[in-house]
Structure formats: structure tokens, C-alpha cells
Symmetry: C2
Amino acid sequence: MIDTRFSVSIQIMMTVAHHKDELVTSELLANALDTNPTFVRKMVSRLVEADLLNSYRGKGGGIELARKPNQISLNDIYIASTNEKKLINVHNKPIVKTCEVSCCIKSVLNNLVDGIETSTQSYLAKKTLHDLMKQV
Amino acid sequence: MIDTRFSVSIQIMMTVAHHKDELVTSELLANALDTNPTFVRKMVSRLVEADLLNSYRGKGGGIELARKPNQISLNDIYIASTNEKKLINVHNKPIVKTCEVSCCIKSVLNNLVDGIETSTQSYLAKKTLHDLMKQV
DNA sequence: ATAAATGTGTCAATTATTGTTACATTAAAT
DNA sequence: ATTTAATGTAACAATAATTGACACATTTAT
């Protein structure tokens, strides 16, 4: 099953941003995303923890942006939503000691994965939620 | 289940490169990768189709590089191994017509995904199999 | 108290990847 | 020609990560 958490998080952030100056509920977000409130809240709780959203419990509660859209980079959202998961996965096969390539493959792949992450994150860091909202 | 095809393809290419001037069998590769020959052959057949490997059937057959290591970029391997799959997946939720964000989210996400792909591919295009072999 | 919201744990459902088996095809060697 | 040893591939099973669903605790305004 493919991972769409970054996409879902982007849409959550954009929808909250679109409802400027009001609190939105996880039920509203779940309707807009054709999913269920529990899943939304799990995503939202990561974004809250990353200080991108504020959430308020109890009657009249809901969710709002924690910062202005131009102060929220897409890399902030990426980091919060994927939680350590990398774009490219290094396999976890055991090392075959008789194979010189197998013996060094982990470090080769880890270097490569780190490079891709750094490259992508610097790309995402240049774009903000505000940039995306201009497309609405 | 996580996708490790790019990592596996890198290791296949490196292992074939390491056995310079000889043909390697899918069984040898399967041992080095702690997997089975059929899975290896599925990966190899994509790399053959992309003109990165040559394969020879029949007794005495096997696999060799189709080009010199410095003529094979990591982007070539990436393109061949992932086959249209993107680093970031756009979700496939239905559009909710009453939500302005939902109505434009697909184009916003597709733009973003394209940007990430382009950025990453240009990063990978600068590195070659030869660069990786220096780390063995 | 009640109502309405988030927070979270658990388990089921879905689905993409990986593994397995079987067999067709090919080509060298005897 | 037959045998042997290799790739190619189709079909199906097993595994595991993501998503969905449900229950219930917690919080807060009315």
C-alpha cells in the first residue's frame, strides 16, 4: 500500500490555511479528504507536535495554523509527516562476507540516500505553504 | 512492505561491475543479495531493457554491463528500476466539489511531485556507477 | 451535567512488494 | 540429437506497511 501521508498533510495544511481566522474540525477535514476523523487526527497530531498547527480540545475546539503560511516551508511539512522515513529505502539483506560488494553496500546506499534526502529537503525548504495557496 | 528495488538494482549493477570481463549468473546475484534467482531476473530484465545490462541465455550464459561504469548514471538505474513510480505519491481521493482546496489539490500535488522528481533526477544524473565502485 | 471536540490504543482491511513454483525458451557441449 | 545450464515470464502465495474503523479517555464550553 502506497504512502500518501505527505500529500495528505499538504492538503490538511492547505485546507486549514484556507479557513483563515477560524477553527476547523477533524470531521470537516475528513470530509474534504474523503477519509475518517481518526486518521486525520493522527496526521494532525504530528503537525501539532512539529509546531505547524495548534489544536484545541473540547466544545468549540478545532485546528488552526500555528504560524503564518509564508513561515511554513514544505520541508517543515515533509519532516513532520514522514517521521524518519526516507524517499529511498535501503534494503535490509544480511551481508554476504564472501562478496566484496555486499560488504560495503550499506555504506554506499546510506551515502546515496542521505544525498537524496538533503537535496530534496533543500528543494522543499525553498517553497512555502503560502506559495501553494496562491494556486487555489 | 517497503520498496527497495532501487537499492537492489544498485547492488546488482555494482556486483556485475565488480565481476569485470566475465558473465555472472542470476544465481550468483541471488546469493550475494540473499534472495532468489527469479526476483533477480525480474530486476535484471528491466535493466536489460534500459540498455544498462546485456543478458545471454543458454548454457554458459549470464549477465554483463552493457556500457562502461562511467557511462552509466545513477539516474539511468533509477529510471529503469522504479518504472514510473514517483518518490512522493499523490493520493487518489475523490474531489469534493464544495471544497476549493480539494478542487485544485491534484494539480498542486502533481506540480510538487514533478519538481521533486526533476530535482532528484538531476542529482542522480551527476553520479555514475564508476563513482560508486570507487567505494568498494 | 451535557455536548462537542481532540488524543490514542487496538485491531481489521487493503494492497504493494517480495518470494515461490513451474515451465517455456535458448544455446553450448557431448 | 540429447543433455545441460542458463534466462524469461506467468501465476500465485506470503509478508508487511498503510489506511480504516471502533472504542473510549480526556478536555472544555454551555
